[in-house]
Every structure is written in C-alpha cells, then in structure tokens.
Assembly symmetry: D2
Homo-oligomer: 193 residues x 4
Amino acid sequence: MKEIALLLCFGMGTIFCSFSQELPEVLITYYSKSGSTKTLAESIADGAKSVQGVKVTLLPIDQVTSQDLIKARAIIVGSPVYNANIAPPVQEFLNSWPFEGRPLKNKVGASFSTGGGISIGEELVMLNILHSMLIHGMIVIGGEETEAAFGASAVTGEAPFDAGIVDHVFLKKGFGLGSRVAKMVLAFPGEVK
Amino acid sequence: MKEIALLLCFGMGTIFCSFSQELPEVLITYYSKSGSTKTLAESIADGAKSVQGVKVTLLPIDQVTSQDLIKARAIIVGSPVYNANIAPPVQEFLNSWPFEGRPLKNKVGASFSTGGGISIGEELVMLNILHSMLIHGMIVIGGEETEAAFGASAVTGEAPFDAGIVDHVFLKKGFGLGSRVAKMVLAFPGEVK
Amino acid sequence: MKEIALLLCFGMGTIFCSFSQELPEVLITYYSKSGSTKTLAESIADGAKSVQGVKVTLLPIDQVTSQDLIKARAIIVGSPVYNANIAPPVQEFLNSWPFEGRPLKNKVGASFSTGGGISIGEELVMLNILHSMLIHGMIVIGGEETEAAFGASAVTGEAPFDAGIVDHVFLKKGFGLGSRVAKMVLAFPGEVK
Amino acid sequence: MKEIALLLCFGMGTIFCSFSQELPEVLITYYSKSGSTKTLAESIADGAKSVQGVKVTLLPIDQVTSQDLIKARAIIVGSPVYNANIAPPVQEFLNSWPFEGRPLKNKVGASFSTGGGISIGEELVMLNILHSMLIHGMIVIGGEETEAAFGASAVTGEAPFDAGIVDHVFLKKGFGLGSRVAKMVLAFPGEVK
C-alpha cells in the first residue's frame, strides 16, 4: 500500500504525495473542567490545521491511548494550574505514557496551561509538562512568539482578564504554538540514527 | 488549665509533659511504593523527635485528614520522582488540602523526595511541593545543611547508590530536615497578626 | 529618644532593652533599568511601612553591603526578567552574599519580578531568587494574596498592560508582599535554637 | 574551494552537495573555575566527535562570538551551580546572545552542569539554561539516557563523589549528550518553513 503511494508520488509529484501518504500527526490533548483549557486547545488545533501536510487530532486526555501517543509525531499537552502544578489527572496521564523502550523518544513535544491568576503557576505547568517530556526523550519546543516561549498560556480569572473567557491575546499564542509544532513535524523527519 | 499542666510538668518531668500539654505538632507524610520514601521519612521523624517540645506524627498520605493538616504546625511532604515531577497520588493529596479561608497559611512547610537516578527530578519534586505550599501561604524552609537546602532527597537507583537502599548520606539530610523544622516550630509562635 | 532608651537599657537589663532596641529591619533591594522594578519595589516598601514596629530600607542592589544584609531581619529581592531568568547583575549580587558560617540563615526572604510579557519568566525569576535564598538557609514566604503566592510580579510590556507602567493590580500585590514580610518579622523572633 | 564545491553542487544535484558543503557544527561552550565543568564539556565533545558528519567546537564562553552562535547548528552550554542557579558569567553570556530577529531560532540546544553536592541545583542549572534557549526559540533536548534527561550533570564535591574529580558515571552522561545532539543535527535539516 505504502509502496504504491510512493510510486504515485514518484509519478505525480510531492503535492499529491503529501495527501496519499499517511500524514504526520499532531496530537493535541488536554484536561479541562471549566472549558478554558479546551478553548485554548482548540486555538492550537486551528494553528496546526493552518499548516498543510499534517493530520491534527484534538482529544481530551481520557480518550488518548498509548497507541495514539506512539502513532503521533508531535504531542501537545495542556493542563489547568492546580496548586502551582499540573492538574492531578494530567499528572496521572503523563505517568501512564509508555516508557519501556522509550517509544516516545524523538517525538516533538509542547505544552499549554491556563490559570486563574497572573503568574500563579502557568509557567510552572508548561515547564513541568516539558520536563516530563524530556524524561521520555522528546524534543521540546515553545510557541511562535517570544511571549509564548514555553508554550501557550492563558490567564482566565484575574482582572483585567475575565473568568471563563480566554482572551484573544492568548488564543493567538495558541494558534502560533499549533502552527510551529506542525511546521516542525514537517521539517524534522522524525528519525534520529 | 495550661497552668495546671505546667505545674504537673514541673513535678513529673518532661516525659509526662509531652502528653499533658498540647505540643506543637510536626506532621511528616509521604507516599512510598518501594519503601525508600518511607525510609527517608522515618529519618526525618527521628530528626524531629530529637528536638524536645514537639509532637511528631508520621503517616502515609492516605491516612492524613484535613483536620490533621489544620492541627499541625508544620507539614513535611515526601514523594518519589515520577516523570520528573511529584507522584500523581501526592499531587492529588496536595490538591485535596483545605483552601477556603487559607487555613494552612503561616504553617511551616518542607519537603523530601527520592529518585532512581542522580538529578532526574529530585530537585523538581522538592521544589514543586514547596511551590504548592507557597500557594497555601505556608512558610517554606529547607534542611539543616547546605546540601539539603531544598529539603532532603535521596538517590536510590543509580550507581554508586544501590536500588532500594537509602544511603546514610541521605538519611543524615533527612534527620537534619526534621530537626530544623521542629526547631522552627518552637521558635515561631505560629501566629502572624 | 533612642539614646534615652539605650541608657535605660544599660541600667535595667536586656529584658527592657528588647523593647527599646532598634526596630527589626526589612531590606527591599532591586535592580531596575527601565524603572518598572523600582516602581514595584516602592509599593513593597509602602506595604512594609504600613506595619508599625519595623524599619524599612529601600535600596538598589549596588548600594547594599554585606553588613546591610546581615543586619536585616528580612530581605526582599527584585529583578526584571532577562531571558527567562534573573538579570545578570542580580545574579552577581546574590552570588556576593556572605556564605561562610551562613550568616543569613533564618532570615525571612521574599522576591519580586517584572517582565515584558505574560508568563515569560516572572514566576521563574521569583522562584529562582527564592531558591538562592533557600541555599542560604533563609525562611521563604510569598505575598498576602493567593495571586501573589510566589511574591509580587508585574507584566509591563504586553497588551493589555502598557510598557513602562506598573498596573495597580501589580502594585497591590507589591503592597501585600511588603506588609506580609513585615508582619512575619514581628511574629518571628529571628532566633532558632 | 567552497566555490568549486558549490559549482559541483549545481551540476550534480543536492545529494552530492550535502557532502561537499561545510559540516553542520555543534558548539560546546562552558564556564569553569575549578576545571570540573571543563572536564564534563570534554566528554560531551568526545561524544559529539564520535558521530561522523559534524564539526565539533569546544570553547570557554569568553571566546565565543555572536557569529559563532549564529553559525552553529547546535549549542550546548555548561555552567557550575552557583547558589542554586547558573553562574553569573554564564548568565551574562546567555544574555549577550543575539536576539533581534531571533537568529538562534530552531537551533538545537542542550545543557550541562556541575555542582558541589547532590541535588543542590544541578537540575535547576540545566533547566534554567534550557528555559533561556526556549526564549530564543531553540529546540531543546536532553541526553541519550533517562538518567541524563535534562542534559548531563555531575556531582563533584559530596561523598561518595570526590571534590575536583568528575566520576565516570557523569562522563558517560556527557558522552551520550554530545552524541545525541550531533545525531539530532544530522537528522534535522535546520530549516523550518
């Protein structure tokens, strides 16, 4: 099947190929109670979809299997801030990732977070997720802009930011994170010999 | 009532006293699967008990109630390193702490960790526990020695450290952490007006 | 007035003296290039001054001597965010602190930071300052409010926050940090036996 | 010489070119007072050199120019632990990196550290260097082994580790970090569209 696709590629050029082959997948997964983290996740998915040539999957963490993780070429994980750290269900999720033989090594990893106050753990959550990804041997990147250097984060509960609403300044960071990760997946063949 | 207790103390010695007065309590609590974190916790309890005038309680996290936390004057929390962060059950435990009205404000907090390799998250676990304690408004301290500045940590799985054994160099740090926290509780009246 | 108190001390012994002696000092020190960190520092000083019974000193880091540090009962350090970390001059300052014999042990420590974007290092700067203070054996606390749990931080360059202006929401956190540290100094005798 | 190679490229296609052009460069740079960080740096250079097809440059930070950084495809930075953080000269070095136009974006970044005690800042130094690299938009990876997930670190002053000697367990981590970064540079074309 793959061989036929490659033959078609050879005959018809790379544009056709990018559709006929199995596209590299960007998996965006999150835990969201209030809905804010989900909203931010959707902006990341929009950003990733804006890049041609990748498959984008958006799922809450409880619907992600080990096989989904192994199949994906990039994994973007989001969590609300709970007591200055990753929410316990996300922590459990990260802990359930397949480790034996390090099947997630050299996958691209990125993170996002939402918090109810300015600088009350958004950085820590993004970075702690990245730290876990480093343990798995993943390749870690941030967003497109300097203001999203660790990933995309949103403040959703302290003035001037309304509770329950993800301001467009944060959605833009999400979009940039999604598009950067998608571009990285296309640029990086995913195999390190 | 307190005066009578003090009089009894005078007559009957400090051993009786430690039961008749309400001594300030140091609560040491941990999650331990392999037993290493428990062993380190016991060295911390020994250190705290070496200081006269405090009550020392050592409990696994699943036996600690909100009332225990509110009653204690100091809380020392320990976790093994899981994927460069606090173990999920400890994360859940921290997340279950009473927050409304911030009843844990101004309590003394400290932490300890055990990991299967050198510098693979021991610092992060200790510090992330302290960060959660700061969210609760706690007063945060490390151990007695510079080498235990963030708390007590132990490496239990990478040579030259044997798996499953907590080296005496780490037990000493645990002892120092326990004794420092106990002394701090005696020095600090616990009320901030 | 102070001289009379000292004379009385000489005549009446140390018990009386403990009331007539010099007030416990809160030292607030900062590095500021644009002026934002200085503005935040001033709000912290205002907060500390709102508490009766402490002496408040506000100085840029290049005017602080080792003797100032040793004399103070609390030290609050502020830095702008440079590349997600403490500004190099503040790093040098922290590194110049007296270490031999750990003369800063059991002093109260706190921190503040300003950054040009939301969640681009404000947390890391506050926490990294606190980590250095833990190395010195200091007792570490955050601000009065949950939203200032790691200390006081301000965003001064990303919309909706204007460049060069420290929004009142951040000045309020600064005030709360100053007042909490001052109250802590009064509550805690500063000696741990 | 280079011109001839380019002419050949033009005539013979890109496959030949990838051999005739300048090799992608891995720059390893460090600050070392006692010599330990330099020793660890050398093991990283050995690891990188073990991979065919890359150029390896090893320099102390004060000999590295902005042009060196821009020219390199990967940058590995090492620092001793000073007060739980990056040594001030390394902090200044990181701060001097070219930022305008983000010329270091998409370069591979990694880090290493040495400390005088177990878990007294080795993790923080490695991670804080990586955080600065994320601000520059770099792609961040750790070492080959799980035990070097954040980079390579060494303990050189607390028993059972001798002061001034970098144990072979740490040199092995350094070698693995160097070889992984070199392989990553070969796998990743360095351009993200």
